[in-house]
């Protein structure tokens, strides 16, 4: 399974998760795990997703999410899981 980590950061408002998930569903990206908190009005979410079946180029997916973030007014970052694996696992 190929995985990626998506982080979303910004001022809380209606529909952040909804819009992000609709976008991901559209690209055949499956959400595996979500951790989300709101601290003093700031929305902070990390999602672990499965990108095995996506037909999208990964850099295109990263750009698309960044643009979506700009539309919603939050920062969305897409990163392949290998960077976390290599840093935290020997």
């Amino acid at each position: 399974m190929k995985k990626a980590i998506i982080t979303v950061l910004g001022k809380d408002k209606v529909g952040i998760i909804a819009k992000t998930c609709v976008y991901l569903a559209d690209k055949d990206v499956n959400v595996l795990e979500i951790s989300q908190t709101i601290v003093e009005g700031f929305f902070n979410m990390i999602m672990i997703v499965d990108i095995t079946n996506t037909t999208c180029e990964l850099s295109e997916l990263a750009c698309g999410l960044e643009t979506l973030g700009e539309e919603i007014g939050v920062i969305i970052k897409f990163q392949r899981e290998e960077i976390f694996e290599s840093m935290h696992r020997i």
């Binding site: 995985k3 980590i5 982080t7 795990e33 951790s35 990390i46 672990i48 990964l58 850099s59 990263a62 750009c63 970052k77 897409f78 990163q79 392949r80 899981e81 290998e82 960077i83 976390f84 694996e85 290599s86 840093m87 935290h88």
Partner: protein, 452 residues
């Protein structure tokens, strides 16, 4: 599976602590471009670079996007031009420098290194021609970097070349006087230069290398500083362990990026350079690490010990994290590129002499130091000779990158911009070494036993 807290730690390193991959540098062999006809040589070199590196910038940007880690610079190093162009029938190598500059612009890299000569024992006619061409080459090009190896632990110090360097540096400063002598920031001299260094200005593709290789320079002083914040009250054992663990994590990112870049470009992976390279940004400074260790400023008593410990533990942590470690690997202490160093100079805590002591234990040498524009060539050569001696005796790489800023005096400031930063002009010892430098010849190779 990666836990959410691990994911948060990694993103914090990138977002808040300036973790980045400082450079992906493609080393390209141009030895087989040799041709007596200079024009033909330039064409072959241009074609070689623009073919091999045509996708370098795109691949760097793609990787940066997919892994979410900035890849700040994409660069190229070539075989030392004094060797590759030795057969050219020409009177100077400026046209070759222009060719390198054009090739760099064509593929979109911000620096190209290798306008270099290796003269640690003696100079060939081509070496001499290259050295004579350096000032003009650096003034008419934008992205070309030049380096000269003047000494080695095996051969001693070529003092004729050292003497010439003072003049070359002053001339380069003069020719680029309209840009605060910026040309000197693209020129470095070495003792024990390494063949796979990805960092500028000293990168060149050594003659012991294969046709093409990807070398990656990592960075992350901010990450080390942040990690040390949490152990401020602890003893040295904990301090060293923390540096090692952090260096390991940073290096793993570099290793991943290097492997990925090498496979996408179809080029063998060369080495990871473990250097902690600062930038002028706040929170991306080696001097701030010293402060976090308990020193008021870089340069305070204890700084050399702190740097030795930092350098050694970065290596210990990093070496296990990468399959091939090389380059300069350690901690850089450039002055103008590190805002904590600049502050230390302004506060009077850091002097040229203390920096020299620090270079005995850092990974490179006197780096990006602005000195008065009227510093004599002999004095510049004297400073270089001292630094070469440290490298030669201690079997380590040392380097000198001084900028005698034309028309400026102690107390003034010079701004280079970008990653090169800004610096206060530092005072230089005023006593003469002219008769010493004027002797000429070579300092013989040192004894490799009786080490005290």
């Amino acid at each position: 599976m990666i836990t959410i807290s691990e994911a948060r730690q990694t993103t914090a390193m990138i977002e808040e602590e300036n973790l980045d991959v400082r450079t992906i540098t493609m080393g390209i062999n141009i030895l087989d471009c040799a041709d007596p006809d200079e024009k033909r040589f330039c064409e072959k070199v241009y074609d070689r670079i623009t073919t091999k590196a045509k996708d370098l910038v795109k691949v760097g940007e793609d990787i940066s996007r997919e892994f979410g880690v900035p890849v700040v610079n994409k660069r190229i190093s070539v075989t030392p031009v004094a060797i590759a162009a030795a057969a050219c029938k020409t009177s100077n190598f400026v046209q070759i420098a222009k060719t390198l500059d054009n090739a760099a612009k064509e593929v979109g890299v911000n620096f190209i290194g290798g306008f270099s000569a290796l003269v640690h024992k003696g100079m060939t006619a081509a070496d001499r021609m290259l050295i004579d061409s350096v000032p003009e080459a650096l003034s008419v090009t934008e992205r070309v970097c030049s380096s000269i190896n003047l000494a080695s632990s095996r051969t001693g110090i070529n003092m004729d070349a050292v003497a010439r360097m003072g003049e070359i540096i002053r001339e380069t400063a003069f020719l680029t006087r309209d840009r605060d002598s910026l040309g000197c920031a693209k020129f470095v001299v070495f003792c024990n230069a390494v063949e796979d260094n990805p960092f500028m200005a000293g990168a060149f593709h050594g003659v012991g290398e294969r046709d093409c290789a990807i070398n990656v320079g990592i960075s992350g002083p901010g990450v080390v500083k942040r990690a040390l914040e949490s152990v401020y009250e602890e003893d040295f054992e904990t301090l060293c362990e923390t540096i090692k663990r952090t260096a390991f994590k940073i290096t793993r990112v570099g290793q991943l990026v290097a492997k990925e870049a090498a496979s996408r470009l179809g080029v063998p992976f060369g080495i990871i350079d473990l250097s902690l390279a600062p930038t002028p940004a706040v929170g991306d400074s080696v001097a701030e690490i010293f402060q976090m260790m308990g020193l008021e400023h870089a340069g305070a008593p204890g700084t050399t010990a702190a740097l030795a410990m930092l350098n050694d533990n970065v290596k210990k942590g990093g070496i296990m994290a990468s399959s091939y470690v090389g380059g300069l690997s350690g901690a850089f202490i450039p002055v103008s590129e590190d805002h904590g160093m600049i502050e230390a100079v302004e506060a009077g805590a850091l002097t040229l002499e203390k920096l020299e002591a620090m270079t005995c234990v850092c990974s490179v040498g006197l780096d990006m130091i602005a000195i008065p524009g009227d510093t004599s060539p002999d004095t510049i050569s004297g400073i270089i000779a001292d630094e070469m001696a440290i490298g030669m005796i201690n079997n380590k790489t040392t380097a000198v990158r001084l900028i005698p800023v034309y028309g400026k005096k102690v107390g003034e400031t010079v701004t280079f911009g970008g990653l090169l930063g800004y610096a206060p002009i530092m005072p230089v010892n005023q006593f003469s070494c002219a008769d010493f430098i004027r002797r000429g010849g070579r300092i013989p190779a040192p004894v490799h036993s009786f080490k005290n």
